[in-house]
């Protein structure tokens, strides 16, 4: 009901100047964007992500890492939020706002790198497995099944415990734990499309396997992968915070949101703001990626076009 009235409005709004009989070409991206921005949540999510990205990219210009983020300043320890220290200071006298801003850099870095690498490997595995099929497909998918049978957090925990706690191992662990999900989704897409006429046509034109996979199949199967990526991104931010909270990720004095929450937990009664600010930062980031992912899924679903 609501949806159709919106469409009506859009149509009548643009009616006077345009001849309705002229075919207006829209790119696929334009179409998705048009549908995407209808969701208020998606816009809120995008704004939050833009804000976090801004913090991450320009953290260096906002604060000096050495003097403001990691160097202790014992005279100003445990101050409540004020004009000088927006989010207060921790037990070392370090500015919590500066640390939260730098934390955005780390969280997004961990999230982006782990999601991207999981995506690349997952898509490659899914594409070849789905396209080649047969025994190769069965073997690869059974291996993927083994990984899927383990809860991804447990798998990541095992990897970090075995390799030792630091940022690179954390990224490695999160990406390995998420590769099976991408592989599964992409393989399903490939299976659905690989016998379509346009693939056959390109095969008839003499395209080899790699050309077909990368030039024909990949561009046509991207949307579910992008949706999945935004969800995994949210998950990666949470997992990196969780692992750092448990002391399995980022090591002090590096500002990481989960690390900050863990360190501030003992001041929960006396200085609750120490846990609230990094906690809210984690929550907002995860929420933003979920909102965007949700809206993207709807926007790319052709069945929900109008």
């Amino acid at each position: 009901m609501k949806m159709s009235s919106l469409v009506m409005q859009a149509v009548t709004g643009s009616a006077p100047a345009v001849d309705l009989h002229v075919y207006k070409k829209r790119t696929q991206f334009g179409e998705v964007w048009r549908r995407f921005r209808r969701s208020k949540g998606a816009i809120v999510g995008l704004i939050i992500i833009a804000l976090m990205l801004f913090c991450a990219l320009f953290a260096n210009f906002l604060f000096d890492y050495n003097t403001e983020v990691i160097e202790p300043n014992y005279d100003e320890a445990l101050e409540t939020p004020s004009a000088k220290h927006w989010f207060g200071t921790d037990e070392f006298g370090r500015d919590v706002f500066a640390r939260v801003v730098f934390g955005a850099r780390l969280s997004l870095y961990i999230g982006l790198t782990s999601t991207t690498s999981a995506l690349i490997f997952g898509v490659l595995i899914g594409a070849f497995s789905g396209y080649i099929g047969g025994r190769f497909d069965s073997i690869v998918m059974r291996v993927v099944d083994v990984f899927l049978a383990l809860p991804s957090i447990l798998l990541a925990l095992t990897i970090v415990a075995a390799l030792g706690p630091n940022i690179n191992n954390l990224i490695l662990a999160i990406s390995i734990a998420n590769i099976p999900y991408f592989a599964r989704i992409f393989r399903a897409e490939v299976l659905a499309i690989k016998d379509k006429e346009f693939i056959e046509a390109s095969r008839a034109l003499g395209a080899n396997r790699n050309t077909i996979i990368f030039r024909e199949i990949l561009p046509n199967c991207l949307s579910p992968i992008i949706v999945q990526a935004s969800i995994i991104m949210a998950l990666a931010v949470i997992v990196s915070a969780e692992f750092s909270f448990l002391g399995l990720g980022v090591q002090p004095p590096t500002p990481e949101w989960g690390c900050m929450v863990a360190g501030a937990r003992k001041f929960l009664l006396s200085s609750p703001y120490l846990t609230i600010f990094p906690g809210v930062a984690i929550m907002l980031t995860v929420l933003a990626f979920n909102l965007v992912g949700d809206a993207l899924r709807d926007a790319t679903d052709p069945r929900l076009k109008h």
Binding site: I70, P72, F92, P252, P253, R265, K266, F267, L268, D294
Partner: protein
């Protein structure tokens, strides 16, 4: 629909966040079946076992001392008093004659005999947790029902201290053998002679003991009718539980919550010195820390005031020795390295590192991370780049146990007898074994002092040997000593009689509630 789901999700996230932060605790049926005085205490972790031979931690010691007795009793000042043993004396260099008290009965009614004592000690010797404490006892000869002779390899004071350890609790032979024959363990039905009778234990949650009305020693008889000790790992929730009366006592409180507690008129803080010391230990067995100048240089970078402020919320005290100041065998007469970055820099250059160096600090759990972070910032000022690696306990001891660490940061608690305090940390035979010889420092002088101290019977002379070890260790700067912690017990204002011993072990028998 979708929007609603997102709202719900956001709400759920918020709730999860608050809940996980608040660390809420359930189970509020505290006053269910009370007859007489019932006291509920909280500890930060649960006990390991009611079997004295299957644990060796402070929480379990408290429970064991409630249900069982030892032959010899170490009081709060860690002085030895008669326990189940009425008297003890060395009849010759290798024979300790013990007379046990008459008329002592186990909780199930059977009388205590020397058979039970022999059985308990022999069972303890097979234990991986506490077996080494009585390893110097070669054989046990029963003279009569109330007298027995312990044949020992060396007649040191360490034997007496060992018999006062909670691991040397006396079990009922008949009862334990009966349980084991049925394929059960002591945890199914712990029976001792102690001031309290076991009532229940929910693993990971809480245990309850009730008063033993027929306890043999009036002075140490239980005052409360029933005591429950609950495991509450989150200190914040312990404070909240204290404030709303859900618990009466917090056995082990973090210094970070003292401000809130002191502001509450219904709560009292009992402060006590502990035998603990927090220190960083250099691995002297391999480069670069086999260089004494380098170790001394880094010793001058320990800013104890800042460590106390950040790591212990302003409580505790600076320490320069190798064990806590209230531990037996402590001496303050050691080489002291006061915070002095200029000296540190000069020594660093002398040691061959004018441009600084970088190394890795293994930290035993995030409890010690604040102390490590303070040190890291000070090291940075003289060009030393230290990375911190926070490890969980098992991984940490694996590392120190194989002497693979560069520098390791953790704490060490003194024992009633200095031999068990010093030997694990300084005996060169234990380098790379067990993980407590953190400094891996090989010194024939220390080894010979340890040996002499072990066989010396005169306590004053023994202590001199241990003082000398402290002096050699600090002279060689094998540790970077930091601080010693204070302990905090929090009581609601109607509770009294809670006093810890110097090791921080608390006995339940004196507790009363008005």
């Amino acid at each position: 629909m979708r929007r609603k789901r997102i709202c719900v999700m956001a709400l759920a996230l918020l709730v999860c966040l608050t809940l996980s932060l608040a660390g809420c605790s359930g189970g509020n049926d505290s006053d269910a079946q009370t007859d007489g005085v019932s006291i509920i205490a909280a500890n930060d972790y649960d006990i390991t076992s009611f079997d004295p031979h299957k644990s060796n931690d402070i929480a379990s010691s408290t429970a064991l001392r409630a249900v069982y007795d030892t032959l010899i009793y170490a009081n709060e000042q860690l002085q030895f008093e008669p326990g189940l043993a009425e008297s003890w004396e060395y009849t010759d260099d290798n024979t300790l004659r013990i007379k046990i008290a008459e008329g002592v009965k186990f909780h199930n009614g059977t009388p205590l005999t020397t058979e039970d004592v022999k059985f308990s000690i022999e069972r303890q010797q097979k234990s991986g947790f506490v077996g080494d404490i009585v390893s110097s006892i070669e054989s046990i000869e029963i003279v009569d029902d109330l007298t027995l002779d312990l044949k020992v390899t060396d007649a040191s004071a360490g034997v007496i201290a060992g018999l006062a350890h909670a691991g040397a609790a006396i079990l009922s032979k008949e009862h334990v053998e009966g349980l084991e024959a049925e394929g059960k363990s002591i945890d199914d039905d712990p029976v001792g002679t102690g001031p309290f009778i076991y009532e229940s234990w929910t693993v990971g949650t809480e245990y309850t003991v009730k008063k033993n009305p027929d306890y043999f020693d009036e002075n140490r008889a239980a005052k409360a009718d029933r005591v429950t000790v609950r495991a509450m790992p989150e200190y914040n929730s312990q404070v909240v539980a204290l404030q709303n009366g859900e618990i009466d006592i917090s056995i082990f409180m973090s210094a970070n919550n003292l401000t809130e507690i002191e502001a509450d008129p219904s709560l009292t803080v009992v402060r006590y010195e502990t035998t603990e010391e927090t220190f960083a230990a250099f691995n002297c067995s391999k480069a670069p820390f086999d260089n004494v100048k380098l170790r001394q240089a880094l010793n001058y970078t320990i800013n104890r005031d800042n460590i106390i402020q950040v790591y212990m919320a302003g409580t505790g005290m600076p320490n320069y020795g190798v064990i806590g100041p209230s531990a037996v065998g402590y001496t303050g007469d050691v080489t002291k390295y006061e915070y002095d970055l200029d000296k540190a820099k000069a020594l660093l250059a002398e040691a061959g590192y004018p441009d600084g160096l970088s190394f890795n600090l293994a930290v035993c759990t995030d409890y010690y991370a604040p102390a490590a972070t303070v040190w890291q910032a000070d090291l940075k000022k003289i060009g030393v780049d230290m990375t911190i690696e926070v490890m969980e306990v098992g991984a940490y001891y694996d590392m120190t146990g194989s002497a693979e660490h560069e520098v390791a940061l953790s704490g060490w608690y003194g024992e009633p007898d200095p031999s068990t305090t010093f030997n694990p940390c300084f005996n060169s035979e234990l380098i790379g074994k067990g993980g407590n010889n953190f400094a891996c420092f090989k010194s024939d002088e220390i080894d010979s002092l340890l040996e002499q101290a072990l066989i010396e019977k005169d306590m004053a002379k023994r202590l001199e040997f241990y003082y000398e070890i402290s002096r050699i260790a600090t002279e060689n700067a094998v540790y970077a000593p930091m601080t010693s912690a204070e302990g905090f017990i929090i009581l609601r204002d109607n509770i009294s009689g809670v006093t810890p011993d110097l090791q921080g072990i608390i006995r339940l028998n004196g507790w009363t509630k008005s």
